[in-house]
């Protein structure tokens, strides 16, 4: 029987799953993902995680628990940085330790430290070491890494053709694609944008209301970074850099009709970035701006009311 490795469908899953699936798959492991977030996943996560933590981390716990009984290993990387001079979020650094000591009966964790600040090849080295730890030889692991990297690149290229991770990760092709409907700039961390349960089908709803979206994933990182370097102050949080860089680029170059910032309750980096963002949007344009904050108590009613009022604002302006 194949050795099973579990990858929680949460946090940076939405950016790196193809990499990890290909890497472990190529080595001969069976890669298992947790099902899309649903009520039971969320409820378990909320109980398991520290109450003061942000919603996405709670959801991550839920996915870890959903996998716990079904796999031999859990892949919970310690992601520190994916780009030199920046950090993802302090919450990510402690994640493997927090999970390990959560008091649940879990399979062994595989937790390579991924930190580009320790050198360009840090991710490669850490993955290969993790594979060696499971008894695979270095050469085979290196080949797997190369394939995996290639897969990741393909994935990113596809996203840049105005597609969402939902198509590739959830195999959901039901979202209509349109190139003519008005575009809303949808900003936020990938785990907020693409977790359809916690965000109450936001993307789907926007499509149903007759809009298309543009998200940071649809732009080339080079463009985003070029814009982000023009920030008056160096911003360490790479997810925040991405959001701001995307906003600058799109406000200057694309015909967007409104901006939505989707954040999570209890997210430190978001509150900082959110303020910068709102100020910039107001300065560079006079587009309607909507801040949506998700937490485990978010009622769908309140979210839809805000969304509808926001879309009315856009309509109003377009028709006048």
């Amino acid at each position: 029987m194949l050795v099973k490795i579990g990858i929680p469908r949460a946090l940076l899953y939405y950016h790196y799953f193809p990499l990890w699936e290909c890497f472990w798959g190529h080595l001969g492991l069976e890669v298992i993902t947790s099902p899309p977030t649903d009520k039971s996943v969320l409820d378990r996560g909320v109980i398991a995680a520290a109450p003061e933590t942000c919603l996405p981390v709670k959801v991550y716990y839920g996915h870890v628990l959903a996998l716990a009984k079904a796999v031999d290993y859990l892949f919970v990387p310690r992601i520190i940085s994916a780009q030199k001079g920046t950090y993802i979020c302090p919450k990510f650094m402690g994640l493997p330790n927090m999970i390990k000591h959560s008091g649940y009966d879990l399979p062994p964790l595989i937790s390579p430290t991924l930190d580009t600040n320790r050198g360009k090849k840090s991710w490669q080295r850490a993955h290969i070491q993790a594979a060696q730890g499971l008894g695979y030889n270095k050469k085979k692991a290196l080949t797997a890494w190369r394939y995996a990297n290639y897969r990741l690149r393909l994935y990113r290229e596809k996203l840049q053709q105005k597609r969402t991770p939902l198509e590739f990760l959830n195999h959901d092709h039901s979202l209509p694609r349109s190139f003519t409907s008005p575009t809303i700039l949808l900003l936020g961390h990938p785990y907020n944008l693409f977790d359809e349960f916690t965000n109450m089908n936001l993307i789907r709803q926007l499509y149903q209301y007759g809009y298309q979206i543009i998200t940071p994933e649809m732009l080339s990182p080079v463009i985003i970074e070029r814009e982000a370097t023009q920030l008056p102050k160096h911003l360490f949080w790479s997810l925040g850099r991405t959001i701001l860089g995307t906003a600058f680029h799109c406000l200057k170059n694309s015909p967007v009709v409104g901006v939505i910032h989707l954040t999570s309750f209890g997210c430190g980096p978001d509150s900082l970035v959110g303020e910068l963002l709102e100020r910039r949007v107001n300065k560079l344009s006079n587009l309607p701006f909507l801040l949506l904050t998700l937490d485990e108590h978010t009622g769908e009613g309140g979210l839809i009311t805000r969304l509808e009022a926001f879309l009315d604002m856009i309509e109003w302006r377009r028709s006048s």
């Binding site: 009520k39 109450m200 309607p288 009613g301 309140g302 009311t305 805000r306 604002m313």
Partner: protein
Amino acid sequence: MQAYLGIDLGSVSTNFLVLGPNSAVLAHHCLRTQGDPITAIKAGLTQLKKQLAPGVIICGAGSTGSGRHLAGVMIGADTVKNEITAHGIAAAHEIPAVQTVLEIGGQDSKIIILRQGMVTDFAMNTVCAAGTGSFLDRQAERLGLSIEHFGQLALESKNPVRIAGRCAVFAESDMIHKQQLGHSMEDISRGLCQALVRNYLNNVAKGKEILAPILFQGGVAANRGIKQAFEEALEQEVIVPKHHAVMGALGAALLAKQTVSRKKKSSFRGFEVSHWNFKVRTKHCNGCSNTCEVVKITAKGQILACWGDRCGRWSADPLVNRLNA
């Protein structure tokens, strides 16, 4: 006489308004929802009918508020609109130059920013109770005052006490404390008004550019103590429109008029729905692990609408889709 009906169904109160020619308000009515929106709507319609002169014909109907879908399905609304847009429309109708709307209702509070007659920004607080009318009701009751009397008392205070107003629980215990210290009712009332306003400005209105003309609406706008506290804090005049308590319903009626002028005919079912036997049934769907609570509304042996499902399995019904359109 042609007229338009607007209903604002909230969790605390349900408001009705009938708008006649030349924007005359022919009738309006407010009542408590008391957890039973269907009864509230039926009772309200019956009341409204009594107020209306015989020749009045309802040519269109609209609904708003957190229960707008239910209200819309029950009456056959021509338009179902969120409460932010509805309040904004009503405010711009009252005072076309309005730039800021402060709204404090029973269940929530909002701020709406308008420029050149268009809503350009808004914020809504549904989480914290300290900024809502229900909170004020409770405190007035605790002081043994009616809500009107309480607002009046506040105006008479010379030395308001400072009450910590950051959250409902704090405010309440702080108020009790100040009461025990022997402060006068007047000073406590005024302190409470100031606390509510401070809380509103720091939370709901945070970061918003509050420009005149400023309209203050919602049930709480009847309280003159709060109006005064707003004027002091903003150092500007605050206008309370005549129909401040039913502005959502006014907005819904205005929107209904707009919609009907476009689609030329109304789907309003008439006042007789107050005799219909509406049934709401909730059931847990077992279609997947989300186990959504699906709400189904029936009347006259027909399913009128379903909602509450995350996937559209139950709500993909032509009627509901039309209402949402």
